[in-house]
């Protein structure tokens, strides 16, 4: 039975390794500076990047993490208050 727990631990970590391996194998070649800085090109044209999606994700996460801590009873720090003001002005 103890040996089974070894197997379970190994199997539990396996999916992460497999997923990372697949992502890197298929995607690593496309991670270039242009991927972060350029807008997507029309379908069929090579090149371009994902800057719109990356910025969109950052804005979303920024707004969410500014509002999240407000519902906790911890005192709002200057950082949080300025983050909320910043996100409201967007």
């Amino acid at each position: 039975m103890l040996a089974l727990t070894y197997v379970a631990a190994a199997v539990a970590t396996l999916p992460l390794v497999l997923i990372l391996f697949h992502l890197l194998k298929q995607g690593a070649a496309f991670i270039t500076p242009a991927f972060f800085t350029e807008m997507p090109k029309p379908v069929g044209e090579p090149g371009g990047g994902m800057s719109n999606a990356i910025v969109g994700t950052l804005i979303l996460v920024g707004v969410a993490s500014a509002f999240g801590p407000l519902s906790e009873s911890a005192p709002a720090s200057t950082w949080q208050r300025s983050a909320v003001c910043g996100s409201l002005m967007w």
Partner: protein
């Protein structure tokens, strides 16, 4: 509080007028802060109630039109206005059940290994890797499911179960094997909920007092007997809580399941048959729902999903309470 300070507090109002505005302002600030904090805290349950009410209100036309057949009928025909959500409800429950069946033993085994058996240098890294599974976005799980898991289920796994194990005859493995299936959804969900169950179980096992283990070992129990008879019974309620937490995640999971389940509104006994879940039904059709009844029917599916999740959580609370009450049973 000493008498002197009490006196001082009491005499504050009689102090020179110049100091009063400053003190009042401070009290005002405290008060405003308290009100703001209370409002934010109250906003969370209020939000939940508001969501429930607005979903029910939007779902009302479809629910009154279909009645109970909304839960029991399998026909989902937008054109004729017939909405039976039974396949989606079935799919949600079955895919989550498959996920639990696969994930629970793995998570339990992994956390027993991590908290009881593993050498200390191995604990941190392996625990970190398992926890990291929770950080993978669900759409990435979906992509991996389409490009890696489904081809595997289609080729080595399907023929292995049918031809090598000769299980093709039983309904559970009958029918064509497209890869996009209830099984694929269950496996993806299992991987997604594994880190939650494992993390909770690990912490609960770690919280079991040393004396519990030492007593069992002193009685002559082997390492496995110690874990089985002294550690796990002590941690039972926490483990059940962790499993239910995983189940809650599995019921509501949308993106990854939608990508691999095949999205066919049918009830089939076969694990290889495509299915549908409530979450993926809403995700797939919401953007195309143009007439009011269709929209309302999707809202009704949302309400049922909400209800199922609530019921599962209620059962979970009850289970945890039951298990916690009688550790000797």
């Amino acid at each position: 509080m000493t008498e002197a300070t009490a006196k001082e507090v009491g005499s504050r109002s009689t102090k020179p007028a110049a100091e009063i505005p400053r003190l009042d302002l401070r009290a005002l600030g405290d008060r405003a802060y308290q009100i703001a904090i209370t409002a934010f805290a109250a906003a969370i349950p209020l939000l939940l109630i508001l969501i429930a009410v607005s979903i029910l209100a939007a779902a009302w036309p479809a629910l009154t039109r279909s009645g109970l057949s909304f839960l029991t009928q399998s026909r989902w025909d937008v054109a004729s206005g017939e909405f039976g959500a039974a396949p989606a409800i079935f799919g949600t429950v079955v895919s989550s059940a498959i996920a639990l069946v696969i994930a629970t033993p793995l998570a339990l085994g992994a956390s027993i290994f991590l908290s009881e058996i593993a050498p200390s240098w191995l604990r941190q890294p392996v625990a970190f890797l398992v926890d990291l599974l929770a950080a993978v976005p669900s759409v990435v799980y979906g992509l991996w499911g389409i490009f890696v898991l489904i081809p595997i289920l289609r080729d080595p796994v399907g023929p292995f179960i049918r031809d090598t194990l000769h299980l093709g005859g039983i309904p559970l493995f009958a029918g064509p094997n497209y890869g996009y299936s209830m099984l694929a959804a269950g496996v993806i969900l299992a991987i997604m909920i594994l880190p939650y169950i494992a993390a909770v179980t690990r912490e609960v096992l770690r919280a079991v007092p040393r004396s519990q283990r030492e007593a069992a070992l002193a009685l002559g129990a082997t390492r496995w007997e110690t874990i089985r008879d002294a550690v796990i019974p002590y941690a039972k309620s926490g483990i059940v809580g962790g499993i239910i937490l995983g189940l809650g995640r599995a019921l509501g999971e949308t993106m990854a399941v939608t990508m691999v389940i095949g999205n066919r509104p049918e009830i089939s006994a076969s694990l290889f048959a495509p299915g549908y879940t409530m979450a993926s039904l809403i995700a797939n059709e919401f953007s195309e729902a143009t007439n009011d009844l269709h929209l309302s029917a999707l809202m009704a599916v949302g309400a049922v999903l909400f209800l199922v999740t609530l019921i599962v959580n209620a059962i979970a609370r009850w289970l945890v309470w039951q298990v916690a009450r009688g550790p000797s049973r």
